[in-house]
Amino acid sequence: MAKVEFHQVHKKYDHTAHIVKGIDLTIDEGEFVVLLGPSGCGKSTTLRMIAGLESISDGQITIGDRVVNDLEPKERDIAMVFQSYALYPHLSVEQNIGFGLRISGEDKATIRRKVADVAEILELTPLLKRKPAALSGGQRQRVAMGRAMVRTPSVFLFDEPLSNLDAKLRGSMRSEIRQMHERMKRTTVYVTHDQVEAMTLADKVIIMNQGHIAQIGSPREVFAHPNSKFVASFIGSPTMNFIDVQIAVADSGQLSVLLGDTQVPIVGDYRGQAGAVSLGIRPGDVYIDEHSGTFEAELLSYELLGASALCCFSLQGQQINAEIDAAIPVKVGQRCRLAFDLEKIHLFDTQTEQAVFTPTNNNMK
């Protein structure tokens, strides 16, 4: 059981690449944290620094109350599940799971008992004598988890563990990982680029971008209140629309969004200047409303997704996607009136790309 803390942690390679640029971070005891970000954002490096597989160029990492900067992986009381599982091909499932225990000099009976326990939990008991080559992807994944579990470490690390599995298995393995966390209540750091995994697994999501932490929050928070255009565009599928608009502030303090000739009043806490901003709205928050829709737009394309359809509109020269009920009959080329759910709009500064608006009705804090 341990808390993991980062204090101004940097990672540089030679003198050229600066992968992680000063991270401050606290992961609480027993928490399930997902590091999420596009490839190359430094999330894997961050994880590997916790594991001790990468050295720390500057700053400090603590696990529990120990500074682990110079500790070897085995001294850090961690276990890790790898993307390719990294099972030892020449060892049986049993030997794979027990390898770490054997290295640390446990006696054979203890090893056998612990391995058997873990195998029981993960339903690997019939497979114990097999070699990794004779296992399916999901079974290998479970062996990799078993290898981590058997050592009952205080921190579990996962490096994109599901990316080699097909979509169906990924779903069931997700819930197994979640169950394992429920059962063991260990601090867990999980790296992925898949937002669905992040949303379903995490207590806390840490979104990284170009070596920095872009946002930390619960899955719900980062989805509903992205603090920057990057987070807004990274989280959510289909991706959020961004359109260029003007903000006008009346003498009364009334805010309104100006798009061409159309002016729409909005209510909320605005922290920017009057003038150009980027308005973000998720496709699900755009509606076709022939009566009260405020924006006139032309339908450019129509993709049926199933129950809903993704429509791409041209709105005064800018493209905007709307996810609408598939039952609504529309044709490409048709002009429609669109309405936005004004409580779910986001405004981002065009320069800093930071969020500058909090709609009133959705105030969470």
Partner: protein
């Protein structure tokens, strides 16, 4: 950047530094694993080479003090020695035969048997068989074949009612006979290299060529052979280095005779350097051989093997 607080509190001093460098026993492993090989290699491969270049400046029989410095005299003697010239010519002949007879033969055989079939495997194994025989054995076998009284050659001469020919005792024929044995012994090795490369060609390419209307011959000449260029480059490399270093075959067949007409560079070195204990003279031959190998390897690698792993890290 912010000041970091109490960095590495327990890891200061020499012990800490050693621990940091020796993460997971990295340094210990390095210090245990590398030196044995390095030591052996230096002592028995690199040092003798350096010593050869020193000895080559002396007249020395290997016993007593090394004090008779004669400068480049040994090199002059080697260069002026007619047997050395003939050994060099012989070596060039080996290179010529390797490149223009052995490699084409190997390539044709490879094209015939490269596909994975049971019968092809049998041919491949048979053709490769001479390569794994020791050179001395190959030499003895062919010495028998060439024997004017007993061998295959003798049965021909007898059949046609001719005088027995002693091929290996004939100044004009002896080295040619050795060349035949070289082809016999080594073409299978090159064939295997070619086969490996041919098997690596994507079937799609061959099929694409067929669809483009290429004949079998055209496919071979325009697609397959250019695509195994790297293997050919490598084979030529091995052939030339092998020719420069040929020794074991010569000894059982002719020992360089008759009249020192069939020496290779190394058999020349052995005969005039080692067995007569002319250490300085022999070393000079060795150094010349070394320089020839290095110059060839260097030029060849830079010309044909640019982005290949040959010797680069």
């Amino acid at each position: 950047m912010e000041q970091s607080i109490d960095v590495y509190p327990e890891q200061k001093g020499l012990g800490g530094m050693w621990k940091r460098i020796n993460q997971q026993g990295k340094m210990t492993t390095l210090l245990l694993f590398l030196p044995p090989a390095l030591f052996l290699f230096t002592l028995f491969v690199i040092l003798p080479l350096g010593e050869a270049s020193i000895y080559s400046l002396y007249k020395w029989n290997g016993i007593g003090e090394l004090d008779n410095f004669i400068g480049l005299k040994n090199y002059e003697r080697v260069a002026g020695h007619s047997v050395f010239s003939s050994a060099v010519v012989n070596t060039l002949k080996i290179v010529g035969v390797s490149l223009f007879i052995q490699l084409p033969l190997a390539m044709i055989c490879a094209l015939c048997v490269y596909q994975k079939k049971w019968s092809n495997t049998v041919f491949r194994m048979m053709f490769f068989l001479p390569y794994i025989l020791a050179e001395v054995v190959a030499g003895l076998i062919w010495r028998f074949i060439y024997d004017g009284n007993y061998g295959l050659i003798s049965s021909f001469t007898e059949f046609f009612g001719l005088e027995p020919i002693f091929v290996l005792a004939d100044r004009g024929l002896a080295f040619t006979a050795i060349l035949v044995v070289i082809v016999w012994k080594y073409f299978g090795f090159h064939m295997m290299i070619f086969i490996a490369a041919l098997q690596g060609i994507s079937k799609d390419l061959i099929e694409a060529a067929k669809i483009d209307g290429a004949s079998t011959l055209q496919t071979t000449l325009l697609i397959k052979i250019p695509l195994v260029r790297h293997a050919i480059v490598l084979s030529v490399f091995f052939s030339v280095l092998g020719a420069l270093q040929l020794f074991d075959l010569i000894m059982p067949m002719t020992q360089g005779g008759p009249g020192h007409t069939s020496h290779s560079i190394v058999s020349y070195l052995y005969t005039f350097g080692i067995s007569r204990m002319h250490i300085g003279f022999g070393s000079a031959i060795g150094v010349i051989l070394f320089i020839a190998c290095v110059i060839f390897a260097f030029i060849y690698q830079n010309t044909f093997m640019n982005n290949k792993a040959g010797g680069k890290s």
